[in-house]
Assembly symmetry: C3
Homo-oligomer: 314 residues x 3
């Protein structure tokens, strides 16, 4: 096990070996969630602040439960960015939390770079829980973990990400993780939202959904988020569903062992048909379960990897 | 002690024996609240999600404290029903919580049947903390517990419930519990809100408050909740107070040992005069104390009744 | 160590000896915050309710962390005063919390006297976390602690408080604490906000900022809070900054060892220039750190001073 980082800010700067260390550690923590007593004392007496300057329910709950199962002391601080601006600066808020001896700050923020910024101004360990359209590293780690669990490997797989790539931090973090782990990544969606420049990262870009999904081992659907998309760039809901939504007709084209992922919450009948979301190929709820294990693993590793003997040092 | 249920969804489907098991267990937990260290490890490492899709303060706090005193890990998820509808469905929310290995989901929802619905779609244990105008089972259990503690029994007592019966989940759950335990139940209130059909359940229905309270051992007042009542059915506040409010003149008619209950929060000067609420016949604050003990008992029993040796297996 | 009080309602009624007991105890708790495991079991199984009937972030978080590090069970109850008025009375809310066996109620309220009122109507221990323009005792205790730590004493020091004194509970509590501990207190600000009547408390009043800060050992700046100030009494922001703001020109006048304090959150460029707030004379973040230690000490002492052997009985 190699792990020397203090922060988890992005996937871009991680090595494949570091990513695999998180995934290996998450495997041990997943078993904690299956026990009758779902708790280990690895973060006892440590203080974690969940600083959510952008609305979130599921990511916040997943982190909160991960922290509780590690026996941390937890403080939640939610505010929306507009009211936040009227008060003190993000830097001042963070330095106040540091002054309270916060060991960890889990930050979600609507501004790209917020997590990196915090890591430069305070001594606490920073975990990026999503910053603007930049990155959402724990989401990419839980997705890679889910793929590895179900397919046995990530390297060599065809993974298609479908939707609004341009404004998606989930897509961006996934692209980094998948490429580092050796997958072949195809991006698909409206041309305004999936520009050719992504080819420079090493992805294949297509605007033809049949072409995108036919050879895929994994089809990763993104949530259609109206609030964040520029109106002029985005087709209507009906048009998106017709052109890119995953329905039974499209599912008939894919490989028999292709699996479907989605970061949630899903829009039933928009980017995915309801019976596909609930079907046997869907990994959507496994992603949720794995997210908790991955977040426990991240907190555990950033804390120095102590007090949990079940993690094998390999 | 017999207890085989996984969920607490309503009172209607419970047997008298099951109700008494909760009340017997609650007696042991009430003593925990009187100790210097008010904590037992019965739910250590278990995850409880408080899913409140309808505003609540006192019921949420009572459940939260019950869970803390049982040493559970707790996540709170509050949303109001209107904003909830815009996002994912209740079923998807619940299945996501299940995927986080939630052992218990305590749900309050403005829709009747929400708790039953959840129990069919997820594997977690469901506790109904109030669903629409349907049931509020822990309220009825704490009321029965309070009566039994003060009167020594429930069977054979005359219990009068006074107020808006038709739209009250508190009334509905109380009627079921009281009848199952052998009490004689009288319902009283404006005829639009206390229809004769309640007689079919086995209650006596009257619209004459003097007749309703004269022989009562327990007078249970309901809160006048303007927001939930159909305007046309409900008399004005002043008219309600004059016709049905419990004042000193009416109190002079009742038995010397009659006791007053109210689920709270009270409207002083509307359904109850202030000095009666604070007087020696009032059980209102005892109900609050007992509510915590009853909720601890419910969680403990649904968890399999382990790790609390003070509960006598009878 | 002498401590016989059940509540912490204000500084006005404390003796110098009692204040010093809190400060001595806080020293031991400060070291807990510097440990790897920042937790002691002194309040295990005790219930603390944080009843915040006025918006607050930093004071609430500081109390919450103090309670967690003492291993208390915690319930948060936030509401704003206007919506609160529509529901039950403060007295009824408090008596309900008492009925839940709340050992401590930490109350912040927009009405002066709210904490004293609660202490008369319930048996729980009450801690005043700020009541209207009256007092904010834990703020004054943490300020006195910070001064004593940095200057070795409080007695004999010149302490200047600068800003809106009239409507500041921070100023009022600080004046009481500083005078009791033997400091010489100078108040300065616009004449409408620093009336001469404060001289009756034993303070020196001046409206000349140069005169106020020249001999000061400690310059305590108050936050300019627009929302709470009567418009007609308060100069504009620009005018305040020009007349009373702490800038480099004014800093050049002060003693070489003068230190700067501020209860936060700071308005950079209004009452304090940004580089002074971040400079070597600023104690602002130390105040935050010390606040947590002082609040742990207060809870510990009100709980009877048990289960923390590191506190030396002196």
């Amino acid at each position: 096990m190699i792990w020397t980082r203090k922060h988890l800010l992005d996937i871009e700067s991680l090595s494949a070996e570091e990513i695999n260390t998180v995934l290996d550690t998450a495997r041990a923590f997943k078993s904690v969630g299956e026990r009758s007593i779902k708790k280990v004392p690895a973060l006892r007496g440590k203080t974690v602040v969940n600083l959510f300057i952008e609305p979130s329910t599921r990511t916040r709950i997943s982190f909160e439960l991960a922290e509780q199962r590690l026996t941390a002391d937890i403080v939640n601080f939610s505010a929306d960015a507009s009211s936040f601006k009227k008060g003190e600066t993000l830097k001042d808020t963070a330095r106040n939390l540091e002054a309270l001896n916060a060991d960890f700050i889990v930050i979600r923020h609507s501004a790209s770079g917020a997590a990196h910024f915090l890591s430069r101004v305070v001594k606490s360990s920073i975990i990026n829980a999503g910053d603007g359209a930049h990155e959402h590293p724990t989401q990419a780690l839980l997705d890679a973990f889910t793929i590895r669990e179900r397919k046995g490997r990530v390297a060599g797989l065809n993974v298609t990400i479908l939707g609004d790539i341009l404004y998606s931090r989930v897509a961006r973090s996934n692209i980094w993780a998948l490429l580092k782990l050796g997958a072949k990544v195809t991006l698909c969606g409206p041309s305004t939202l999936v520009p050719e420049t992504f080819a420079l990262m090493g992805c294949r870009v297509t605007h033809d959904v049949a072409d995108a999904i036919r050879e895929a081992d994994i089809i990763h659907l993104l949530r259609i988020q109206h609030e964040r998309q520029r109106k002029s760039m985005f087709p209507g809901i009906g048009e998106y569903r017709q052109l890119f939504g995953l329905n039974q007709a499209r599912l008939a084209m894919v490989r028999p062992d292709a699996l479907i992922m989605h970061p949630g919450p899903i829009n039933r009948g928009v980017e995915i048909e309801s019976d596909i979301a609930d079907g046997s190929r869907s990994l959507i709820l496994e992603q949720v379960t794995n997210g908790l294990a991955v977040r426990m693993a991240v907190l555990y590793l950033l804390n120095g990897g102590k007090d949990f003997p079940e993690v094998s040092v390999g």
